[in-house]
Symmetry: D2
Subunit: 342 residues, 4 copies
Amino acid sequence: MTVRVAVAGASGYAGGELLRLLLSHPEVEIGALTAGGNAGSALGQHHPNLLPLADRVLVETTAAELAGHDVVFLALPHGHSAAIAAELGEDTVVIDCGADHRLNDPEDWSRWYGGEHPGTWPYGVPELPGARERLRGAKRVAVAGCFPTVSSLALAPALAAGLVEPEAVVVAVTGTSGAGRALKPHLLSAEVMGSASVYGVGGAHRHTPEFIQNLSAAAGEPVKVSFTPVLAPMARGILATCSAALREGVSADSAREAYLEAYGDEPFVHVLPEGQWPQTSATLGANTVHLQLAVDPDADRLIVVAAEDNLTKGTAGGAVQCMNLAVGLPEITGLPTVGVAP
Amino acid sequence: MTVRVAVAGASGYAGGELLRLLLSHPEVEIGALTAGGNAGSALGQHHPNLLPLADRVLVETTAAELAGHDVVFLALPHGHSAAIAAELGEDTVVIDCGADHRLNDPEDWSRWYGGEHPGTWPYGVPELPGARERLRGAKRVAVAGCFPTVSSLALAPALAAGLVEPEAVVVAVTGTSGAGRALKPHLLSAEVMGSASVYGVGGAHRHTPEFIQNLSAAAGEPVKVSFTPVLAPMARGILATCSAALREGVSADSAREAYLEAYGDEPFVHVLPEGQWPQTSATLGANTVHLQLAVDPDADRLIVVAAEDNLTKGTAGGAVQCMNLAVGLPEITGLPTVGVAP
Amino acid sequence: MTVRVAVAGASGYAGGELLRLLLSHPEVEIGALTAGGNAGSALGQHHPNLLPLADRVLVETTAAELAGHDVVFLALPHGHSAAIAAELGEDTVVIDCGADHRLNDPEDWSRWYGGEHPGTWPYGVPELPGARERLRGAKRVAVAGCFPTVSSLALAPALAAGLVEPEAVVVAVTGTSGAGRALKPHLLSAEVMGSASVYGVGGAHRHTPEFIQNLSAAAGEPVKVSFTPVLAPMARGILATCSAALREGVSADSAREAYLEAYGDEPFVHVLPEGQWPQTSATLGANTVHLQLAVDPDADRLIVVAAEDNLTKGTAGGAVQCMNLAVGLPEITGLPTVGVAP
Amino acid sequence: MTVRVAVAGASGYAGGELLRLLLSHPEVEIGALTAGGNAGSALGQHHPNLLPLADRVLVETTAAELAGHDVVFLALPHGHSAAIAAELGEDTVVIDCGADHRLNDPEDWSRWYGGEHPGTWPYGVPELPGARERLRGAKRVAVAGCFPTVSSLALAPALAAGLVEPEAVVVAVTGTSGAGRALKPHLLSAEVMGSASVYGVGGAHRHTPEFIQNLSAAAGEPVKVSFTPVLAPMARGILATCSAALREGVSADSAREAYLEAYGDEPFVHVLPEGQWPQTSATLGANTVHLQLAVDPDADRLIVVAAEDNLTKGTAGGAVQCMNLAVGLPEITGLPTVGVAP
């Protein structure tokens, strides 16, 4: 099978990571590469690591340029995907790395993003309960946010198994590539290096409703989520420390059992051996989540720590995984599981 | 006034930071510098930044070398300070940067550190309720741990004012100097750079009982604390994200009011202007804590984020602040409040 | 003596570092703080480390705002200082952190910066031969570039003593704060962290004529300089590796002797003990240059490695040092010599 | 074809990188993994990124364990490979990542490493003149040092074409993984982060004779090399700034021509488009060298800047490339050319 793909937003970080993965995907042929302001320039100027595509010229992001591919990846600012998808027709698989189609509830959408809800597409974390079935053969996919991917995977088994109360606290340390390539003062290297900072505190980050949606679905009841993202001096990687109050009688063994059951057969989610804790470097460039858990008998909480590469499993790798499901390829095709470390 | 000081453990990171601060302290004369394995070598080999002391030769850490100073700072491994303090006599001010004398409860000590409790000394965070009075004129001081310093300051006002339930979650990102200068594989630069990791998860970190002690004292009732330290790729700095469930009827305004009241007159603890969140770089090398708070109305939690330099306010700066109180100098003498940023 | 100073360009990195140093200068009173686009905002938004000035509001950079101070520091883009200096009058000491008045040769100026030469001011590296005399009592000072400061100090003694041929190779690793606070894609943290890169290769960096001017003056004959700046993932610091072919009969001892003679009495330039090599962290935040040298008998070259903090000795510290000379204070007043390390 | 390989020294950084690459090599089956002090432990403890091999137990490094494989990679401390190779027999391909067999001249060996020269093996940089032929079908291969690999590739074409004088200056910035996983104080993360430093200055680094050997061979006459390694705060990557005095009449065009001719057909050495300079991140995890050159008409020098990943092209990738040649596979088999960036 040869899957012909286009990437819209190819000069950004998500676009670059998509191309890095697609270049080593055995069933993919890379077609149009589009951009906004960078249209007309060579890809190599923006992604010098992508040598085999260095001379490819970026074209304008229009439906006309994207048409005629089997799969179109959209790595665009929020609010651009619905219109393009409509023009591409129902036969084209459209995989949206943006937020437009992740939320089920139109009111949530309006509250967090403003404007009218562009509709809900199948949610791109195959390892969440029920998700894989919706993604198989799907023509539209909403790739999950990088924080919700790793944190939902970290907490869903405990909530689904009723091990914890439906109130979660997530503090997730992230590298700065998650903020994209836009020029913002707080992302200047001299600001970031040697410093940790926070943003979107107190439920202000737009990924919050996505957490709540995922975790409430897993729990079968509304879950409150306190989410704080912390910016750390690294380019890639998210380390999420997730916790919730234990329900009575839950032991460390039963908690571990729930996670092994949930993820024992998953190719991309790994419960580490007891005593070994995740580090983001072990997932760098790989489509994996590493996680470990502990029960704190004094604080009466379950703590789950999970690591991923925000650009790979958290964005582009998750997107390719969804593409595999959508077009009927084995889910693991072309996706690395070995991180580049140290 | 001239205060003659000695520093035991001068070749480590805490010792080096003490000397950096003492060099610019207007009332201090630096006497004996001692070390363990590094005795006999010049200080400049270990701390090339401390130019004015570069040629000073480190001597063995013995009570004889430390005797005859007004103040002795101990920056030693756990378990060494009680014996030395006993030999130094009651007139010498002994300021212990180690953990030996921080805990009130001998059982806590035995559980977390093993062996017999070496006794409790006045606790070295002057800004905590009641602490300053105990430190004035004290002959023995137990400098607080770096994590408990910043996190206790972050949560104490809310607990003291009854704004939150007595169950706190603290996730604190730290630079690696907090682990000291011992050669451990996970502290190798190639392991740390580009990666975030965790350790001591689930209540396993020895600072946990110190948190509980401080916060329970502030609350006037036992407080449960879930503490997770996260190692980030930076040399210095702690950013603590602290949260607890709000009690009914607590508004953002009343929460802010409690913090302004608690810290409005403190020279080293700063509640940032609304909308501005802490970043560790702003505290680098300074004896300050920067903090900010938010109320999350969906999650029903108060979130307080606080930053410090783990070596300065978190260790050596806190120690010098306590020295000032102990010897009767103005508390702020010689202590920087301006960080080195970017 | 109280010196009343103004800082133009206070929201940038050079401006922030000037203020950090001026805050602890015992003879300085800080007056007007001006900015371009950031005028009207509080300084604390731009420099959260400068707590004592957090509420100061930035005003527009105009001669009217800057007038009436004893000393005006200009930390402005190139081309703005001559006009402002003219308006300030001859009694005001004007210290220009920009490049406008560094070059002696109008043709050099036109070649490297374009336009008409705004004139030459006394050059702000007091430790270079003859410089200190010109700076004492000066009403105008051209602060040196960060690269030329450290590299000229590294090579001048060898050239002045005729130890090496007049052809130097300088490769200088720099932190990214040297590029200032402008939003440029290659300065985004995700681009910089984990990566080393070069720019201005082949004599294209504007600091090149400043090197040539300084080193030719030291040598008493024209010196060719090959300069390559390397961007490393750190916020501050320059480490310059400088070398030149040895003249016949020059021994390691005679080379060392020349450096000890040149710098033995200098408070801010330190020849490290034999066997100890510079590291930028030892100079962080300090107004110091650390240097060391070696003779390579196989390659027949002298190699001098020198470290500085580009924002301190390389810019703002050098500027304050020049201010001290200009206003008649002891040269070392208020300037730190101890770096913040690790 | 299935090539059965063993890796000696599998718990170190070079060993880990070999395994990362071998896991995605389509013709390789991974056999014995050996270690020194880490024998008996699971590989996953040392390399959490190598998930598919996490449960493999390391065995002692002995000839008996390594026997019976088609290819044995040695990633051992210096001085261990000759004895093991002798026991493995002449049919086994032995690829030594250490220095033992790189130098042609026994006197060089004794001067730099001490003791008796263990003999010379074909040198593992296929892109150097004549090297590829010696590596095809070889039973013994000496993988090149990480610095000499990139720097020799940077300068060989200019020397071979007689464009420059036989005196080169190389200043190479390196990440810290090149120093291996041994616990040394200067490699502690708190020492490295935020700092640049040098070591082995003045011709003291053991890679120096390897440079001289390679460049003299390329030039056809003895070449003097001044080499300075600079340690930068990053885990991986070398950026080498290499220069030499131009011979008369050499233009930028002719220099570029020489490089395009030398490397135009090489799959792993890329002369970047004019105006684009190397950055190490673009080579991260890839078996590539990126290079660019400039002629400085004022300094009369050719400057060549080259980037590689020290663990990939600089060690393990180079080793696998040599294995491909040795066993008769296409040279590019299984080797990534796309770096993981940002």
